[in-house]
C-alpha cells in the first residue's frame, strides 16, 4: 500500500492530548536531516512548491526545501544552484502545521505548501511545534509514535 493510500483524509486522524509533556516548547526539534549533494543537511519538513528550478533559485533562502513540480523532486538552493535530495520523500500538500504533524505521524516526510503560502512557513512550523509539544514529541521521530485515534 502506498503512502497516499494509507492516508484517506487527514481530518480522520486525531491526536491524543498529553497533559504532562516532559518538554519545554523552545527545545523541541522540528527539523529533519536529508541527504543533499553528498552530505546531510537539517531542514524543516516543509517544502515550498515551485514550477521550475529557476523559480527556486530566485527565492533562494538558506536551508529552505523546495518542491520542483516539473521535476517532481525536492531540493535546496546553495550558491544559486539547485541540489536535489537523495532520499525518498513521502509528501502531501498541507494547509497548516497540525496537518503537517498528522502527515508526519502517518509516515510522511515533508509537507508541501503553495507559493502563495510562502509567508506562512514560519507560522506552519510554529503550529507543528505546538502539536509536538501537546503530544509530548521532542523530535519528529517521537511524533511518528504519538498516540492517535483514526476515524
Amino acid at each position: 500500500m502506498s503512502f497516499m493510500d494509507r492516508i484517506d483524509d487527514l481530518r480522520n486522524i486525531r491526536f491524543i492530548h498529553c497533559a504532562l509533556p516532559d518538554l519545554n516548547l523552545s527545545e523541541i526539534k522540528t527539523t529533519r536531516e536529508l541527504n543533499v549533494n553528498g552530505r546531510k543537511i537539517s531542514v524543516a519538513p516543509i517544502a515550498i512548491e515551485v514550477s521550475t528550478e529557476e523559480e527556486a533559485v530566485k527565492l533562494d533562502g538558506t536551508h529552505t526545501l523546495f518542491y520542483v513540480k516539473k521535476a517532481d523532486k525536492f531540493g535546496v538552493v546553495e550558491y544559486r544552484k539547485m541540489y536535489y535530495v537523495a532520499d525518498k520523500i513521502e509528501h502531501m500538500h498541507v494547509a497548516d502545521g497540525l496537518n503537517l504533524a498528522k502527515l508526519i505521524r502517518m509516515g510522511g516526510t515533508v509537507g508541501i505548501v503553495k507559493m502563495h503560502d510562502l509567508v506562512r512557513v514560519k507560522e506552519i512550523e510554529e503550529q507543528l511545534r505546538i502539536a509536538m509539544f501537546l503530544t509530548n514529541s521532542g523530535d519528529l521521530a517521537a511524533l511518528r509514535k504519538a498516540a492517535v485515534v483514526i476515524r
Binding site: I16, A19, L20, L23, N24, E126, I130
Partner: protein, 365 residues
Amino acid sequence: MSLPALIPGTASRKVEHVKVVLGTDVQFRKKTTMFEDVRLIPKGGTHSGDFAYTIDTNTDFLGRKIAAPIFVSGMTGGHDKVAKINMDIAGGVSEVGIPMGVGSQRAMMEHPELAYTYDVKKEHKDVILLGNIGASHAMVYSVKQIKEMLDKVDADFLCIHTNPGQEAAQVGGDIKYKGALKAISDVAENIDRKVIVKEVGNGISKEVAAMLAKTKVAGIDTGGAGGTNWIAVELYRAGGTRSMDIYRDWGLPTAGSLLEVKSAFDGFVTATGGIRTGVDIAKAIALGADACGLAYPVLKAQSRGGAKGVADYLRHIIMELKVEMARLNCKDINELRGVGYTTHGQLKHLLEQRVGRSLLQREPA
C-alpha cells in the same frame, strides 16, 4: 481593602478570564463530552411514587463525607474583583454540603496581600476546600512554600492543575513543562495533604494517568473537553491569533478521558469538563467517577444570584441526579456505581482503539 492601582500580569488576567467566560461563547463548539454516547441500563425492581425523595446521594470525597457526588471546581481568585465569586460559592456549597476549589493561588504567592480572595473559610469554616497551584509553578515553589500557601487559606486538599494547551495559546504563556511530572511527584510525596492532578479542558489520557499512578498522587480530575474551552479563552484574549486557531477543538472529551484514566489509575477519579445535568453526573458515576466537578454553570449562577443563586443551582442539579437515579432504580450512590451501561458512536470508537473492549459496556451488578 485597598490594592495597588495596577496589578499587571497574573491578577488582572484573572479578572479578564471571568469576563471572557461569562461574556463570550468560549465553550467547545465541535467537540462534546461524549456522555451522549453512554446509555445507562436501569436496575430491575419497582418503587413507590415518592422514591426520588428517599434517594441518598451522600458519598465519600477522599475520606470526607459530602452530600452529593459533586464539587465546584476551582475557577478564580487573585484579584479584589473576583473575591466575591469565591465567597459566594463558599456560601452556596456550605448550604448544600459539597466541596469547592479555588483558582490558581499563584497570585497570592506573588502578592501575599491577595490571600483574602481565596480565604473563604474565614466566613464559612465548614467548607471542604481544594487549594490550587499550576504544574509549572510546582517546579518553581518549594513544598514548604506550597504548604504555607495552603495553610493560609486552611485548604483541605491540593489540586495541581496542568494546562499546556492553555499555556501554548496564552500570550506570554509559561511553556516549560520539562520536569513537571517529577515536581508533582515530589509535592505529592512530601506535602501533608492529598494531591489531585487536574486538567483544565483538554483531558487526561491513559498514558498520563499511568505516569501519575506511579506517584503518591491521590486523585485525578479528568478536566476533559466538552465544556469551557480555555484555548478559546486565550485566543479571544489575544485577539484571535491564526496560529493557534487550528487548536480550538483540541482535547480528549470528558467521558473518553474518564474511561482512559480508569483503565490506568486505581485512585480517586473525578470527572470535570462540560458536566451540565444530573444525567451527566449519573453517567459519570456509573462509568467510575467518584464525583463530578462543575464550573461554568456555577459561575453563571453566582453572577446572577450570588450565594443564593449558587445554592439554588446546586440543589437543582442534585434533584436532577435524584430523578435520574429514580429512573435507574438506584437508592444510593453505591447502587448507581453498579448500574449497567453501553457505549455508542464516537465514544465506543475511541475506547476500542484506546482501552480495548473491556470498558465498552457493563452488565448491571
